[in-house]
Assembly symmetry: C2
Homo-oligomer: 206 residues x 2
DNA sequence: CAAAGAGCTGAGTTATTGCTCACAATACTG
DNA sequence: CAGTATTGTGAGCAATAACTCAGCTCTTTG
């Protein structure tokens, strides 16, 4: 492994469609390879092989291995970002309906490739910059949920911010677990329990 | 990195106290090094250095790097296992008290070295055997909690097994998160919310 | 106290992997 | 179609890290 901090030369920017396709093939292959082998064992040569591309080509579009993972991560985050329209859409209905929508949202976010997400979050040591992006995304999401809860009449909790944080994290990790586990519990059943837990919590029953 | 599956020669078993001490020093150093550098960058040479032991000695007691982590993991699990006495001790009291005890237990389990636990669980790719041990431990724990809930009069949930699973996982991961995050939320506050959530869920209020 | 064995050493071997670079192939342009 | 720019190739370099082994020191034992 070469020294980590070396001057990273600027990469060529694709000008022809061919090049753009190559880039995409590399990313697709990387997703597959990381999923199958994990981050450490998902070598750049393996990725290149899988993409039917030479290792040299790979390094023409990505300055290093981490950059590939970073791009996958950024794309995932972008896909998962709520638009304001989505947010409004969640407002009406009973508390349970709202919570269920939240859970469904988390499930959708994991649908593509739960294994890959796990690897991205857990296995690879991401750059500080990327971690910051994820952090910001998380904070924004907690904020959205907090606002959502604030607008709902049935919510009775002490600290709304903390409740939002607790909920987002709990829903996220539980979904993550059920989706990532091959021999998983049926999602529907688990979803019901999760929804029940969160709903009862928010309702603040004594 | 040498090929993963090679004949692993039997290691020397310590016969003198001196040897036992060396083994312990290696394990202690490994815990420190893994915590500070992570698993991948926590090299065997670094561990040996930190333990003031030659790399050769290290390999006299552990067949490979993973075995070191495995031993740390097994020890952690053993420490965290409930005895029957512990179990009985948890029975009496209000539901909230019981839940709080559960949460406290998780906190205690993370107290030693939350970073290390994170590394063990997330970063390293553990052997199937070790994963099975962890799995068995998890199942046993869920079983213990299920029995605990079954004995409590205030618990009203549909599927007790699933409830136990949901609770154990939720308490575990939330605790894990708060403990591992350096700029963490005050544990007490978070604990209260977590306890509230789980308690309200179990009480099954409508 | 001397022989035997247990424990310890660390330079060196083996293997892997991220990544470069000199060159070849392909696409664009006038 | 010649000349230029872009894209693609893959052997091999350099770095790194897991692990070995020949020979040493320390402990035990008779």
């Amino acid at each position: 492994m070469p020294s980590a901090d070396r001057r990273i030369p600027a990469r060529r920017k694709p000008r022809q469609v061919r090049a753009e396709l190559t880039r995409e093939r590399i990313l697709t292959a990387a997703a597959h390879v990381f999923t199958e082998y994990g981050y450490a064992a998902g070598t750049t040569n393996r990725i290149a092989d899988h993409a039917h591309v030479s290792i040299g080509s790979l390094y023409q579009y990505f300055p290093n291995k981490e950059a590939i993972l970073a791009e996958l991560m950024v794309r995932h985050i972008d896909r998962g970002m709520w638009t304001e329209a989505d947010e409004l859409e969640l407002t009406p209905g009973s508390l349970e309906t709202t919570v269920r929508a939240l859970v469904r949202d988390a499930v959708d976010n994991h649908r593509d490739d739960p294994q890959l997400l796990r690897i991205m979050l857990e296995e690879a040591s991401l750059s500080q910059e990327l971690l910051d992006t994820i952090e910001r995304h998380g904070k924004k999401r907690v904020g959205q949920v907090r606002d959502l809860l604030a607008r709902h009449p049935d919510v009775h909790v002490g600290d709304l911010g903390m409740a939002a944080e607790l909920i987002v994290f709990t829903v996220e990790t539980n979904t993550h677990k059920v989706m990532a586990d091959p021999r998983a519990i049926p999602i529907e059943t688990f979803e019901d329990e999760l929804v029940a837990m969160v709903t009862r919590y928010l309702r603040g029953d004594r």
